[in-house]
Symmetry: C2
Amino acid sequence: MTIAKISRPVCILGLGLIGGSLLRDLAAQGVDVFGFNRSPSGATAATSEGFSVSTNLIEVLQRAESAGALIVLATPMPAIGSLLDAIDEHAPTCGITDVVSVKAEVYGLVCDHGMQDRYVGGHPMAGTADSGWSASLEGLFEGAAWVVTFDHAYNSPSDSWVALWIDVVRMALSVGAEVIPTRVAQHDEAVARISHLPHIFAEALAITGDNGGALALSLAAGSFRDSTRVAGSHPSLVQAMCENNREALLVALDEALTLLHDARAALASPENDLSLLIDTGYRSRIRFEARTGVSGISGVSGRPVLRLHPGAENWISQLEQAENLGARIDVF
Amino acid sequence: MTIAKISRPVCILGLGLIGGSLLRDLAAQGVDVFGFNRSPSGATAATSEGFSVSTNLIEVLQRAESAGALIVLATPMPAIGSLLDAIDEHAPTCGITDVVSVKAEVYGLVCDHGMQDRYVGGHPMAGTADSGWSASLEGLFEGAAWVVTFDHAYNSPSDSWVALWIDVVRMALSVGAEVIPTRVAQHDEAVARISHLPHIFAEALAITGDNGGALALSLAAGSFRDSTRVAGSHPSLVQAMCENNREALLVALDEALTLLHDARAALASPENDLSLLIDTGYRSRIRFEARTGVSGISGVSGRPVLRLHPGAENWISQLEQAENLGARIDVF
């Protein structure tokens, strides 16, 4: 896959795990990238490593405006509304993307601000249980899925929106991610299942284990460690992402509760037979491994690829097809 | 900790992940160790690596009897009853331990056979999602908890039982494990919380993710991968261990279901507030990390240590204290 370089500078607002890692990767490629961080300690640490980072939001946005930069919203959800206000005032022509783990909630704010024609949503499916600038690292996005949303494609968007869409894709591809186009609703439904629900389950498992006291915690090994890992994530981040995807998370949670209640009934019945849950779960896990290459050859993606030309007559149907297949795309 | 060598040869019945790894570690230390494997392919592979392994159970048991070996039951639960029958007939004086992940069910069979005075239960809390001889490896038990049961200590056991208990502890210590004494009921309650419930949750998560179709599987990343990892374990092994710990698993599952239903109600309410679940889960995970040293210094155990002299007047109260604290023990 040939990757054209992003055609404009990049301005990242929020330099935590995701924003900070993106800053590192883009800088390493020679992209003109700079950023804002609210916490002075993170900004100082980033500056001391030679990055162009400031705690003055207005100055950073003014610089973005004069440079024609792509602005990346990389804060947790609760800060997004006020950042859009500030962009409206201080960087009124810049294109905008984000890396927030819910997309409908962000898109609602974008629409409230009338910014649809200058916004393309994004969500890199990468992370660790750690957060903040100190957790950021180079190469975090290598092989990761990076969702790029396309809802505005249905609204006869401007040429500049299509150009923005291409640049967001190029930015994601350039840091080694695999771009998967989705609409915001489809994204939120999917991540409720594969990210937010696992967080809820991890919390419940951690508590139930801990309720077993010192003996249970002493005996806990690999299965407990892995299944509760994300319960070690910063609580406010987990809360923001789950609560902001309420509708889709309720659907996924109810599905899972039905499975658990069925399993409970099977376990308690005279037959004492958990094979339905366990056999089905095993097959599901194997399908996941095939898709993401967990057990496959390193560096070889299990995701199908689809080439498309943004703005071409049939590109919406191609985007829908990619969304449906969970396919990564190449643009030409 | 000074570790005295086990005072007798070891005969391992079943050379899967656990039995095979134990064979490798003991052989590497020069212990006289041999084994039985039902599957000829596993036995052939082990033999070709120079280990003394046979598919003839009767011959292996006769050798154990004449050598005065410690017999280790390392098959899944369903085979334990018939192995005890065979031991009764062909190795009537050998001491017995096991590595099965449920203890009450095994102890019930031991009592049915009248073998309490020659049996000490064991359970190494180690493993991977793989199984069989090909998955076995050296060093699997390094730093792992290894439960050694002591229910028979209340029954005025023979001196030979105390000697057997010491040898089982020595065997576990010699392969790098940390020995935690428990009674079978306390063990089963604890592992229902920290092993069997995580397996049930992993299955339900894998299915709910898979129900999201190709898009969900394409977006699934670290949280899904880790939280569903054990759903990739061989289904029959998961089934045997969960179904054979039914009563304790139902208690743990019901506790977790209550947490999930409370969280669902909190999410669906106008307040949309998941902080109770998420804050509590976070604190539980941190307690677990402190205990097992997940985020601590490698090689430094977070488990308290208790020195005891098996058979001494106060050893039962010491054992109960260790069980209560989840403490590892040193014997002298």
